[in-house]
């Protein structure tokens, strides 16, 4: 039986060569140890890297772990090379994604009604990006498709799991405060309007 230290060291090697998120189950099988122990070892490693402020960090996504860089160093990485960055999502895509993430499983009809506007195209785009997917059919009239988020969504936004989503319940409080800050929308265009 391997010692805990040896297993953790092997997990580091495995994470490194694997590159992609490594399923805890697969790692546990290599050592023939139970899932929970393997998970705990990964969490310990994760904490060690975090506490030491290492340039490499371990992130957890949906029962998998992955080595990645410390976001604090992104500036230096960009000075060294030009990493390929994914295109940012549009505002409407983010809105639909937020609705799907928080209300899943949800139908297109529900999404449309919350946004007050048709979301067909946006949904299509998110499905194509594998951020959302069909997860079933509603029992309602016409048995409309139900949408939910995918592991790709979790990874892209760095959520461990869906419970990791930020709370939005106290938003009504936010709404009541009259926002002084109008600069939220950087893409705003300014046009001179001549009063008739």
């Amino acid at each position: 039986m391997s010692s805990k230290k040896a297993i953790k060291s092997a997990f580091e090697s495995m994470l490194f060569v694997w590159g992609e998120p490594l399923d805890v189950k697969i790692a546990a099988e290599v050592f023939n140890i139970n899932w929970k122990d393997a998970y705990d070892y990964f969490k310990e490693l994760q904490m060690e890297y975090e506490q030491e402020g290492r340039g490499i960090q371990i992130r957890e996504i949906d029962k998998t772990f992955q080595f990645c860089t410390n976001p604090e160093n992104s500036e230096y990485i960009e000075r060294l090379c030009t990493p390929v960055k994914e295109k940012k999502l549009s505002q409407s895509a983010l809105e639909v994604l937020a609705i799907v993430a928080y209300k899943q499983p949800v139908t297109k009809g529900e999404i449309d009604s919350i946004r007050g506007i048709k979301s067909d195209r946006v949904i299509e785009g998110l499905v194509k990006k594998e951020l959302i997917t069909e997860v079933g059919r509603s029992t309602g009239i016409g048995r409309p498709i139900l949408y939910g988020t995918t592991p790709v969504f979790l990874k892209k936004f760095g959520f461990k799991d869906l419970d990791d989503l930020p709370e939005i319940e106290d938003i009504e409080g936010i709404v009541n405060e009259n926002s002084e800050d109008d600069s939220v929308k950087p893409q705003q265009i300014t046009i001179d309007f001549i009063k008739s």
Binding site: S74, K88, L89, L97, I114, I171, N178, Q188, K195
Partner: protein, 269 residues
Amino acid sequence: MSYKVKLDIFEGPFDLLVYLIETARMSIYDIQISEITDQYMNYLQRMQLLDINVATEFMVLAAALIEIKSKMLIPRMKKDGEEVLEEDPRTELVQRILEYKRFKTAAELLEQQEEYNQRIFEKPKEDLTQFTKEAEEYLYLDLKQFVKTFHLFLKKKKTLEDMQKKYRRVERQKITVESKIKHIKGIFRVKAKRRLSFKELLAPQSDRSDVVITFISVLEMMRQKSMVAKQNTNFGEIILSLKDKGGVEDTENRKAVGETVVLKSQKEH
């Protein structure tokens, strides 16, 4: 005089409405419908003037706002001055705005999260071909499955045994066509008669299978030409007479029973 108007690319009618309410520093819970409707309509007009395609959904909300506005104008009093407790016509709108606002905020949180995550980089998978070996077979055993299979087997075995008991009994009787023939001959001997009715061959306690086996035996004897059967009427008494000689034992073709024999007996009749 000119002043600047911000023209956003609004995500939808609620996006515009929320923007107007916030810009006017109104409480969402106490929207000045008349004022906000005017602003909203103005906005749509301006968008049209600037050739911005106004989606029908914007018009739908405009209609809803006008409806609420008109409802607000109707005095909420009965003729006798008694106040009518009606639901605030704005209630549904407020709820919808709040819900939209909730997800708009969530979208903003996601955007921040997206930005943060774009500063995190992964490394590609290493070339692992040097480590890859041939697939290893891994035997998956599950206790529940094991126990279940065994249980199923035990059940099956019990049913099998039960059925085999019956099966063996039937078989025994089948095998005894020969001994039944001996038995029939014995009856003839004991009763010392040349003719007996079929009924007389049966014991009083004979069950269906005994009747069948006796009948088959009679047919077999007829086939062997050691017996002649006569039936004068349909469903009538079958009278059997034993042939003393010429009963050639023909065990080779014993299996040929059934219709052919019956037909033969009818011919004889």
